[in-house]
Symmetry: C2
Subunit: 265 residues, 2 copies
């Protein structure tokens, strides 16, 4: 299934001097997906850090990113044995779109005992889940043509039926072009689902991300990923969204948490 040149690799290509572009088609209503922007910046941070994988990365989203040329910049803060810690910025002209800090390393180098007190979300087979459409009637989501995101029917009510009343969204993730999912791509995966709060009776609309952190906890086995996102704490106009991403072998491969702003209805 995988084509020789994958869309995600093309869309996150960065020249050695940091020149790159926000590619069209990775957006929601014209603004690039935050996970895609973080992956684009992370690719440059990793190159400068001379490391393979983002183990933990935090992004602060400072301005929306529309398609077009941008510049990535990265600074190494510390080179250690396990980690190289670096900060990075994505700029358009002098405007800062995204700032990130990351501990970069090689995920395969990490070994140790396993105590996991959780299980992958129970999902119906992919063909019984609901593909997230590229348009939901309010705003076009071209990103969904790049991805194959299939929602648990219980999570999909916000678009097509009664809202569940539970701030949870679960489903399957794959790239539409079959690209394998590596640690870099997990930065996109954890921001690729509709906000869990869409299933609450709240004013609708965009949920701007203030801060988004991903912990890469393993290299995904081949195949689609099982993902779940929950917002336990909606208060004060802000919300958390915590994600878990599990691979086809039943291993947790990433967790995420973001702090978002609730739409002002």
């Amino acid at each position: 299934m995988a084509s020789s040149v994958n869309q995600f690799d093309t869309a996150t290509a960065v020249a050695a001097d940091g020149s790159c572009a926000i590619e069209p088609g990775w957006d929601i209503g014209g603004n690039a997906n935050g996970g895609y922007l973080l992956a684009l910046l992370a690719r440059h941070v990793l190159a400068v850090a001379q490391r393979e994988d983002p183990i933990t990365i935090t992004g602060h989203f400072l301005a929306p990113g529309t398609a077009g040329p941008v510049t990535a910049a990265a600074t190494v803060l510390k080179r250690g044995r396990l980690f190289t810690t670096a900060s990075g910025s994505l700029l358009r002209d002098d405007r800062l779109l995204l700032h990130a800090v990351a501990a970069c390393g090689e995920i395969d180098a990490f070994q140790g005992p396993t105590f996991v007190d959780a299980a992958p979300p129970k999902l119906p087979p992919i063909e019984e889940c609901v593909r997230r459409p590229a348009g939901n009637g309010f705003v076009p989501v071209p990103l969904m043509d790049r991805l194959d995101v299939r929602l648990h029917p219980d999570s999909a009510g916000f678009a097509s039926g009664p809202k569940s009343g539970v701030a949870e969204v679960a489903g399957w993730f794959a790239f539409a072009d079959g690209r394998p999912i590596d640690p870099l791509a997990l930065l996109l995966v954890c921001d690729a689902f509709p906000p869990a709060v869409f299933n609450l009776e709240l004013p609708g609309g965009w949920v701007p991300t203030v801060e988004y952190t991903v912990h890469v906890r393993g290299r995904p086995a081949p195949g689609p990923l099982r993902c779940v996102f929950r917002s336990q704490f909606v208060q004060g106009g802000m919300l958390n969204e915590d994600g878990e991403v599990w691979d086809s072998a039943g291993h947790l491969v990433a967790t995420s948490r973001q702090l978002g702003l609730l739409a002002r209805g």
Copy 2:
């Protein structure tokens, strides 16, 4: 109970030029507590940002901090209406001890509907909980003379009895000198408990923090805080620890997550 000059305020004092000191007595075996270091740096970041509260802050711990003079530096990345985003560094001579990025604002300015799908941890009365001692037999924890941390008896087995086998630690938090707990202090609170994994049958010892993020979600009402910390995902030599902090009025006031390294036994 509150004295006119509180230990925490003295220990986080920073001059306008960033000169400050890691005060003795906030350490575990000679290395300052990470939450204290982050609060010290955050105080300078807030001053430079001209904001009251750290709403979300992420710290990367790059070298242990022993008592003595250090320098804090901060750079504003963006000044917005709700947030001023800034990065900061804590240095000793040219050695970077801690790097942080924060979105700073005024917590009281945030308003909106509440959907909370969680409850404060159930704790016995303070007097029936176990005060965390300043020495645990392995390494002295002078920090515990500054704080009044009382563990749920079920969480305290790692020190005094059989380990629970559950990676959870819950208990009450207050300052020993009665200082009120403000948003800045929440950065310390979320790192002031013994690691939840001490209650698993794992090699013991220090759990170094790679990255630590706190979301301040409310201003605490007066009185001690109810706190719970859980590590759901111990794998690959790394662990998460997720914290919730609830005030005396039953409101969530902070969440935290850290990525730590498991001790190599």
